[in-house]
């Protein structure tokens, strides 16, 4: 539990770091904090609910939730949803598995390398698919609303 709280807080501040790099407006920094906490929180919750062995489904769910959040913020703030999505999703970016992939290559442990390489790719795919699903639903709702 303590680990999860540390992760939620550091992940959120780290995402604000990325918001600075991407030049997000300062008035949106609170939104970024909230989005990042939601993103990592939903990932942790999904991992716990699914038993904690999979990478793909939790990432997909978290990507979906974050994208819905970004779409809602986009309509409230009248700004492009990318601004909120790209900054909130940062904790999911598979930096760690990519590192273990490289470490396994250096140590010549190729079956581990392929496992970590796969996990890296599946994480990225999960984010994109979750986001696209959310995007499609929002697009539908917009058109039906008219």
């Amino acid at each position: 539990m303590r680990d999860a709280i540390i992760q939620l807080i550091t992940g959120a501040v780290g995402s604000v770091g990325f918001a600075l790099i991407f030049r997000v407006r300062k008035s949106y920094f609170l939104h970024v904090l909230a989005g990042s906490i939601l993103c990592w929180g939903s990932y942790l919750a999904a991992t716990a609910a699914l038993g904690g062995t999979e990478v793909f489904l939790p990432t997909l769910i978290s990507g979906f939730v974050t994208a819905i959040f970004a779409e809602i913020l986009a309509r409230v703030c009248k700004a492009p949803s990318t601004v909120f999505f790209m900054t909130s999703i940062i904790p999911l970016i598979p930096g760690r598995t990519l590192f273990y992939f490289m470490q396994a290559i250096v140590r010549e442990q190729y079956s581990q390398a392929s496992n970590y390489g796969m996990a890296t790719f599946l994480t990225a795919l999960g984010i994109a698919l979750g986001m696209s699903a959310a995007w499609t639903i929002c697009d539908f709702s917009r058109k039906i609303g008219r």
Binding site: G17, I21, F22, M102, I127, L129
Partner: protein, 257 residues
């Protein structure tokens, strides 16, 4: 007639500038096409044909009196991310959709937005914050975080002073990964209390093209297959360069020291 033609040339030119500015600040291809179409119709076009990929824009504008104009623009740099600029362009397009500015004025406004200064200090703060906090996020200690922050400053220096000398992004990515990897490995050798693993994971977050990868898959899924494929291949190349750089750094320091 001649006057009309000149005005139209100016307008299409302004649209190309707008499209280029949008692509280079990280907008989705879908959004760029949509915005250019809407602005074109706001200026009275009877038909707009806009085709955008990450390296080129083609606009054909058709007026109600039958005049046609096609212009293209090659885009060299489509990898930036600048959300302040994106938002300002978005606001501008909304504004002109309801009340069109004269074309000269429009181009002036776009140039003004596109030439906004890059704020180095905020970039530095971002690099340090992101690398230090993600080191803790992935399980590093506070010392690791401090070290990752220092390497973050180093990567910032590379991004500002090394990037302009590099032939392309892949070369930059490889050199930045190799140099920061060497720095981390040497530091971990000198100070045994530091965890090379966690510092490296924190700093990889700065270099990994995760956003680009997500963007590319999104473009594919939204129907812009060519742009998506181009960005995807670039993201994969950048990841290879990153892996090569860090692997070489770990290997060199492992053998030499």
């Amino acid at each position: 007639m001649e006057n009309e033609r000149k005005k139209m040339t100016k307008l299409v030119h302004a649209l190309l500038c707008m499209g280029e500015a949008l692509v280079s600040c990280g907008a989705e291809i879908f959004r760029v096409e949509d915005t250019l179409n809407r602005v074109g119709y706001a200026y009275g076009a009877s038909n707009m044909n806009v085709f955008v990929i990450t390296s080129s824009i083609v606009i054909t504008m058709e007026m109600p009196d039958g005049q046609l104009m096609t212009h293209t623009r090659r885009i060299r740099n489509a990898n930036g991310t600048d959300f302040t600029r994106l938002e300002k362009l978005n606001e501008l397009s909304r504004e002109i959709s309801s009340s069109p500015l004269p074309p000269e004025k429009l181009e002036e406004r776009i140039k003004e937005i596109a030439s906004g200064s890059c704020r180095k200090r905020e970039l530095l703060a971002g690099y340090v914050l992101a690398s230090a906090f993600f080191t803790v996020f992935f399980g590093g200690s506070l010392y690791d975080a401090a070290a990752a922050g220092v390497v973050g400053v180093f990567i910032w220096i590379l991004a500002i002073y090394l990037m302009p000398f590099c032939m392309n992004n892949v070369v930059y990515q490889f050199s930045a990964s190799l140099l920061s990897g060497l720095l981390i490995c040497v530091a971990a050798k000198i100070f045994p209390g530091l965890s090379m693993e966690h510092i490296m994971i924190g700093d990889i977050m700065l270099l990994i093209p995760g956003i680009m990868f997500t963007n590319s898959l999104r473009d594919v899924l939204l129907g812009d297959t060519i742009s998506g494929a181009m960005r995807l291949i670039e993201a994969i190349l950048l990841t290879f360069a990153l892996v090569l750089g860090f692997v070489a750094a770990i290997w060199i320091v492992g053998r030499a020291l």
